[in-house]
């Protein structure tokens, strides 16, 4: 079973307590009525679907209840780091240098 570090609980806990919640850092447009149909479609449905390091949302649903973000390698399924909602996406190079 995957172990996931919750940045709010500051604890590494079993995957069963968590729920995946899609790609991270997708901001809702401030004024949707100004968008073209294509732009609105892109906001709603078009995702990067990366092979490699992916920034994604998770929710510690059966724990503290909070949403947070994670960097996960979609090839190895390894979590590189997790960070609180609202924080900037950490730089992968900096993370690897720190290891």
């Amino acid at each position: 079973m995957l172990l996931i570090h919750c940045p709010y609980c500051d604890d590494t806990l079993p995957e069963l307590e968590f729920a995946y919640a899609g790609e991270a850092h997708i901001a809702r447009p401030a004024d949707p009525s100004k968008l073209s149909d294509e732009e609105w479609r892109d906001f709603l449905f078009i995702r990067t679907n990366v092979k490699g390091v992916h920034a994604e949302r998770w929710r510690h649903i059966h724990g503290c209840g909070r949403f947070f973000n994670a960097l996960r390698d979609t090839v190895s399924d390894r979590f590189l780091t997790t960070y609180k909602a609202g924080e900037a996406r950490p730089d992968v190079q900096t993370l690897e240098a720190a290891e």
């Binding site: 079973m1 709010y8 609980c9 500051d10 604890d11 806990l13 079993p14 069963l16 307590e17 059966h62 724990g63 503290c64 209840g65 909070r66």
Partner: protein, 176 residues
């Protein structure tokens, strides 16, 4: 419902009597106000608990606490929080009847919980609590001693959780 569910020498599973139970959401900066209203200092770290007499508080989220008290104190505690509501916004929800508490104690308590609880139970401190899952049911797991636990289970999940505990207890008793 208060009769022992199952027991053998190494573990006892019992449905415990009801308590007054609250869910409190409040800004951590206002914690002192809540501690004063409950007359018990609330823990600050997720997973920690504090107890005094019948009253207990467990931190289960960044701004969320589970509070316990004797059943007859429910009105008084709700009134104490009501008094500070205008100055200190918070939410206090009475959840006394939402959950049923199942006590699990004995040398095999950890083995029994491990049947359906994915947490590393050795890392839960005595006196602490955690919201987690038991099979697919969300529960709050409270640790009262090295081998004494309480499971707070939403009422509708109780038959499922009890059924699992019952089967697992019989398996443990049979040495499986």
């Amino acid at each position: 419902m208060n009769a022992p569910v199952t027991n053998f020498d190494a573990v006892t599973v019992t449905v415990l009597p009801p308590v007054a139970r609250f869910n409190l959401r409040i800004a951590p900066a206002d914690l002192a106000v809540a501690s004063k209203a409950l007359d018990l200092s609330l823990p600050t770290r997720i997973g920690q608990g504090s107890q005094q007499g019948d009253r207990a508080a467990y931190c289960i989220g960044p701004d969320e606490w589970l509070l316990h008290a004797a059943e007859e104190e429910q009105q008084a505690i709700a009134a104490a929080f009501d008094k500070v509501r205008t100055e200190t916004p918070h939410s206090l929800v009475v959840i006394s009847d939402r959950e049923v508490t199942i006590g699990i104690s004995g040398p095999a308590a950890v083995d029994l919980l491990s049947v359906a609880c994915p947490l590393d139970l050795s890392r839960i401190p005595v006196g602490g609590a955690k919201r987690t899952v038991f099979d697919y049911a969300q529960v709050t797991l409270i640790r009262d001693g090295e081998d004494a636990f309480r499971l707070e289970v939403w009422r509708s999940y109780v038959p499922h959780v009890q059924g699992l505990l019952d089967v697992a207890t019989r398996e443990l008793a049979a040495g499986l």
